[in-house]
């Protein structure tokens, strides 16, 4: 085939390995996600707390600045697990905003234009399709969660006058693990819900609702049954518990807000399985042209 000849010729060149097709999907999904100026704007906004944290770390490690701030602020400038827990929490909730914007862009365009029969007629499975989209979303959320968090940790390790990093490695591991668990959960949840909602704006709202509405239901369950297990429906409380334990930060003052780690892990796993089931059902239904 040549443009000027306008005739057809077969392709006889090399073909890429089948496993790399997932990366093609991920690349196109990533480009799709970041083609919007709103995504770029959100990204900049999501990094503002990190810049603020960077300033705090600078002040904390600068003797002149500490002297200027005075004794009362010394506690505010303490760079420890509690400080990084706050950073992680802030970034994680901003990640929810970002996921609720990006996830619908990755799936709803394909569903609205009925692209799945064409996409899946290529050598790519349903799992491969979802995994490609997952990589794009997970990668995008990584840019505002564990990557800046670990950079802040590294900056603190570098700026501190005392050997700080090695004695606080649990914080780094906690930041990494806590972020990965959260953004993996958000990615699966975002993709699953987006696959069931045709309109992007509605899908964004549904993702928020899926995180916060069960929290209200959980509060009612806890109040009516006089139990703390209703907290397992409260994603914000559940994740705060998990992050606090992973980072080794002080436990919350209210013991009633504490939930066993195993119960949290089981709950997250169950939620992910439900989401995978939803995705599988939706994509299976749309992969062929019914006729």
């Amino acid at each position: 085939m040549a443009v000027y000849k306008r005739n057809y010729s077969a392709y006889t060149g090399t073909v890429t390995p089948v496993w790399t097709r997932v990366l093609v999907l991920a690349r196109y999904a990533f480009e799709e996600a970041w083609s919007s100026k709103i995504t770029v704007g959100l990204f900049v906004f999501c990094l503002l707390p990190c810049v603020l944290s960077l300033v705090v770390i600078y002040l904390a490690d600068n003797p002149i600045a500490r002297a200027l701030v005075g004794g009362r602020a010394q506690e505010m400038l303490a760079i420890n697990a509690k400080f990084f827990l706050k950073v992680l929490q802030t970034q994680s909730w901003l990640a929810l905003v970002m996921a609720s914007w990006i996830a619908p862009r990755l799936i709803t365009f394909d569903l609205a234009d009925n692209a799945l029969p064409i996409l899946l007629s290529h050598p790519i499975s349903r799992f491969g399709y979802v995994f490609g989209k997952f990589i794009a979303l997970f990668g995008s959320l990584s840019l505002i969660t564990w990557i800046p968090c670990l950079l802040l940790f590294a900056d603190q390790g570098y700026s501190s006058s005392q050997p700080w990093a090695m004695s606080n490695l649990q914080i780094a591991m906690g930041l990494l693990a806590g972020s990965i668990i959260w953004i993996a959960f958000l990615s699966v949840l975002g993709l699953a819900l987006s696959s069931w909602v045709k309109w992007r704006v509605v899908a964004t709202g549904v993702i928020f609702a899926a995180v916060f509405v069960p929290a209200g239901v959980g509060a009612i369950v806890s109040a009516v049954l006089r139990t703390k297990w209703g907290l397992l429906l409260n994603v914000p409380v559940m994740m705060s518990n998990l992050w606090q334990k992973l980072l080794g930060a002080p436990a919350p003052i209210n013991e009633r807000l504490s939930v066993p780690t195993l119960a949290i892990a089981v709950m997250l796993l169950l939620a992910c399985l439900v989401c995978m089931g939803m995705l599988n059902k939706r994509i299976r239904a749309r992969e062929v042209v019914r006729g």
């Binding site: 073909v15 064409i118 007629s121 790519i124 006729g291």
Partner: protein, 318 residues
């Protein structure tokens, strides 16, 4: 080894048998897939693409099992679905490149072939426009371009002329003919329009109620039925019919100088003209009636009546 081998294929969807014991070997360069609505055409295509697992039997494409080797099969197939199926907010060239990369072409090559495929189908000038701004005909063509870009061995076209105006339809038919002529791609074309299949295919598989109603080579079928002829004459029709009977033709005359005849293989139309000229008979119209695909299709629909259908027909006649 045929292009498509069907060995007792049965496909069930929601506990309903949609394809029932399909057996046959398809060898044609361009294979037509015909059948009324609900006959199982799309299900057969989806089975060949590995979307449906046969509950019984095996289906093979180029000798590869449609379920076990579906990744390999899909790599060698270009599929143009019937309905709108594209990513609307992508430009034409980006969409075709994306599909070519998914089929296994390296990124740079995929871009090059995407441009070429779009020029080939006639969308070169609009390749940077978003697909959702294309007209219906352009959308059909961009689907064809994405199916061609990676150089498939088998091109599956599901209702390729659906919704096209006569000019666009003719252009699509011409493209299909060109692809067929080029020779490196086998075609499987599903269509409701007998004329499309007639113009583009050399073999036809007719489905009815999930069963094979007919599987035949269109050209051979035509050749075996080419001897039937209708004439309209002016002059001594009776004497003329006696003379052509003398040539070995079976012949029946009708009022208004009409003659129907079955001519043996060794008799040509020219022989009839010679006799007519000798006897001063004018042949006003000569219709050498070939067995059209429509006849083949209708015959297949009549022949393949199941027990229930036959009972219904009998009741209808009574």
């Amino acid at each position: 080894m045929g292009v498509i081998d069907l060995d007792g294929v049965e496909v069930r969807l929601a506990n309903r048998v949609v394809l029932n014991n399909l057996t046959g070997e398809l060898h044609g360069q361009a294979i037509g897939l015909l059948g009324p609505n609900g006959a199982g055409k799309s299900t057969l295509i989806n089975t060949l693409l590995g979307f449906h697992l046969p509950s019984k039997g095996k289906a093979r494409v180029f000798g590869l099992d449609t379920h076990k080797d579906r990744a390999e099969i899909r790599g060698g197939i270009g599929f143009m679905p019937e309905n709108d199926s594209f990513i609307g907010n992508m430009s034409g060239v980006r969409f075709v490149r994306y599909m070519a990369e998914l089929a296994g072409l390296p990124s740079g090559v995929a871009l090059e072939r995407a441009h070429e495929a779009l020029f080939y189908v006639g969308l070169g000038e609009v390749r940077y426009r978003k697909v959702n701004t294309y007209s219906l005909g352009m959308k059909q063509l961009v689907k064809l371009a994405q199916a061609l870009a990676h150089g498939p061995k088998l091109l599956i076209l599901d209702e390729p002329t659906n919704g096209l105006d006569p000019v666009a339809r003719q252009r699509m038919i011409q493209l299909i003919k060109d692809i067929r002529k080029e020779g490196s791609i086998r075609l499987l074309i599903s269509s409701h329009l007998l004329r499309d299949i007639d113009q583009t295919c050399d073999e036809v598989l007719i489905l009815k109620n999930g069963r094979i109603a007919s599987l035949c080579n269109i050209e051979e079928e035509r050749r075996s039925n080419r001897s039937f002829m209708e004439l309209e004459t002016v002059g001594a029709t009776e004497r003329f019919s006696v003379s052509i009977r003398g040539l070995g033709c079976e012949c029946a005359t009708f009022p208004g100088g009409r003659i129907k005849l079955v001519i043996p293989d060794h008799i040509e139309a020219r022989d009839l003209y010679v006799i007519a000229s000798d006897q001063g008979v004018q042949i006003r119209r000569m219709n050498q009636r070939r067995d059209s695909l429509e006849d083949i299709f209708l015959r297949a629909m009549d022949n393949d009546q199941g027990p229930n259908d036959q009972a219904r027909s009998a009741n209808g006649r009574l």
